[in-house]
Structure formats: C-alpha cells, structure tokens
C-alpha cells in the first residue's frame, strides 16, 4: 500500500479510524486507571466506539434516514437501516451493563470502603 493510497483510505474511512481510536482510548482507560468508575467510563467509550463503527458502515453518501414519508421519491437514496436497528439494541445493552456495574460498585464500596483497584487487591 503506497503512502498516497494509505492517506486516501484513511480519509475515506475516517469514521472507522476514529472508532478504532476511541476503542483504544477506552481500552487504555480500562487497563491503566485504577478507579473502577473510571474503568467503566472507558468501557462505555469502547462500546460507543463500536456502535459508531457499525453505524458508519451502513451510511451511504447523501443517504436519507430510512423513513418513508412525504418527499420520498423512487430515486431517493436511503442509508442502511440494519446497523441502526442493531445499535438500538446495543445502546440498551450498554446501559444495562453500566447499571449493573454501578450498583455492584455501590455494594463494593459499602463492603470494602474503596473503589481503587490497587487497594482492593491488597484488601483480599
């Protein structure tokens, strides 16, 4: 892959690149931050990054939202609705995981008095 081609690809798939960068930022937070709440923010960033990736993959240049209403002709271009349907589910799942994690953190704090992963390791 030549340099110009690389830049071309990076440019056209910029959304994907951003999504993967966000994924790595989230993973970094998850791994390196000792605070559990912060870890979970990182996890949320990771999740949204994948959502961004999936939704971007369904986009079509100049496409409209897939709603058949007024002003829709036979030549109207629609974006791909499947990724949207999937991500709707994905968002809910992300929220559910977060809710459970946060309530676990509340319980953990009641039991151990800290939310610092390093200190928790020592407690054990």
């Amino acid at each position: 892959m030549s340099v110009s081609e690389l830049f071309y690809k990076l440019n056209v798939n910029f959304n994907y690149v951003v999504a993967m960068t966000l994924f790595i930022i989230g993973l970094y937070t998850l791994i390196s931050k000792p605070n559990l709440i912060k870890k979970f923010m990182g996890l949320n960033i990771m999740e949204t990054s994948i959502f961004l990736f999936i939704v971007s993959s369904g986009a079509i240049a100049g496409g409209k939202a897939p709603i058949f209403g007024e002003g829709v002709g036979p030549e109207t271009v629609f974006v791909n609705p499947i990724p949207q349907a999937l991500i709707l589910t994905g968002i809910v799942v992300a929220m559910s995981t977060t809710a459970l994690a946060l309530s676990l953190m509340i319980k953990l704090y009641e039991q151990c008095g800290t939310l610092n992963a390093d200190k928790l390791k020592e407690l054990k």
Partner: protein, 244 residues
C-alpha cells in the same frame, strides 16, 4: 515501565485495528457489501411487510423482532440484577440520597419540572406510539419516560414517586416488555404461524392488517412502558438510602 508497556501494546493494537478497518471498502459507497446484500429487499418491501413507515422500527419489530425481545429482556435482566445486588426500595425504610444531602432545591427547578414533566411524559408516549411513522419507537420513548421519572424523583422527592408508582403496579409494568412479546408470539403460534408473526392468516383477510397494527402497538407500548418502568426502578434502587 508497566504503563509504558501497556501504551506500547495498545499502540500496536491500534495500528492493527486501523489497518483492518481501512482495508474495508470505502465508507458511504452504495456498492459496499453491507449496502447491497439484504437491504434492497427491505427498501423495496419493508414498509409493506413491516407495517411501519419508519424502516428502523419496521425492522426491529418484524425482521429482527427476536433481537428486540432479547433487548427488552436485557433491560429486565439489568433491573433484576440491580435488585439482586442492591435490593428493592421500600418507602417505609428508605429515602433518596438527594433528600439526605443538605442542598436546598431551588424553586425555579421545582416550577420548571412541575410545568415540564407532564409534557415530557406526553412526548414520551407520542414517541412510543408514533414510532412507526417518524423517528422514535418503544425504547426511545421508554428511555424518556424513565428520564422523566428520574427528574421528578430528584425534584419532588423519593416518597412521592415511590408511592405514586407503587410496587403493586410497577412489578407488572417492568415485565411488560418481554410479556407483550410473549403474548404476541404465542398468539401467532396458536394461529399456526411461527413465533412473532404479526400477519395472521387465521384472521379474516380484511382484519389482518388491523390485527397486525394492534399487535405492533401492543408490543411498542410494552417495550416503552417496560423500559421506562425498569429504568425508574433501577434508578430508585440505586438512589435509595436508609432513613435515619
């Protein structure tokens, strides 16, 4: 040292991931595999088959209805999990963290919320019911419904909400989502169709479309109410503190 190693490893992973995504066909092109394989049929027949002008709603209720059933189950699971970890709130024993804290609630907030809350709830129901025609749908509305409960709790206190949304009904509301799918699906099975079929041949032809709309609306309301109730209950369970 360890941190440097982590950063380095993540950097390598980043390069790897970026490489794997940029070799994909250019984003936004109509020739992508994602845009050529299944979509044409959805765009062509989706509205007619799904019974909704909003294709996304049509897909999540029809073609991918089982996913959506899973989705509402996930909310229900989340709620049950939170209850398993923290326990259900009890008006007699608990109050909200916000009330315990000494911050005085401003009158402006109270007034605005008092004024806006009914509209928010109305809007939520609009979104739920109008999801077939415009952006929105069961879950979006449910989230807004839940959010409205949250702001009301935060402004007017825990006791009011816990009493108004008493457990007697809330338990039913929480399970509305999965249950509505269950009912719709079982109706189909008893009519000899596959699970989650809305267009039932056992119904007289003229009423088929009507029955389908009825079922769809039931499911939408179920998702909305269920989601809203679950979010409210999660919130209440997390917000509760023991009274002194």
């Amino acid at each position: 040292m360890k941190k440097g190693l982590v950063v380095f490893a993540l950097f390598l992973l980043w390069i790897l991931l970026v490489y794997t995504v940029i070799v994909l066909p250019p984003m936004g092109s109509p020739e992508n595999p994602t845009n050529t394989h299944i979509i044409p049929r959805y765009l062509e027949k989706g509205v007619e088959e799904g019974g909704a002008h909003n294709l996304v709603t049509g897909i999540i209720l029809n073609y991918r209805g089982f996913d959506t059933m899973g989705e509402v189950t996930v909310i229900f699971v989340a709620l049950t999990c939170v209850l398993a970890v923290l326990g259900r709130e009890n008006i007699l024993r608990h109050t909200s963290k916000a009330e315990v804290s000494s911050v005085e609630k401003s009158v402006i907030v109270k007034c605005v919320v008092r004024f806006l809350a009914p509209f928010i709830i109305l809007f939520a129901f609009y979104i739920i019911l109008h999801g077939a025609e415009s952006p929105g749908g069961g879950f979006q509305g449910g989230a807004i419904l839940g959010a409205s409960v949250i702001i009301i709790t935060l402004t007017f206190g825990f006791a009011l909400v816990a009493k108004k949304l008493s457990l007697k009904y809330r338990v039913l509301f929480e399970s509305a989502g999965p249950l509505s799918f269950f009912i719709a699906g079982m109706v189909a099975i008893f009519c000899g169709q596959n699970f989650l079929t809305y267009l039932l041949p056992c119904v007289a032809h003229t009423y088929q479309d009507f029955v389908r709309h009825l079922l769809l609306i039931m499911v939408e309301i179920g998702i909305g109410v269920g989601g809203g109730a679950a979010i409210s209950s999660i919130f209440l369970a997390m917000e509760k503190v023991e009274k002194e």
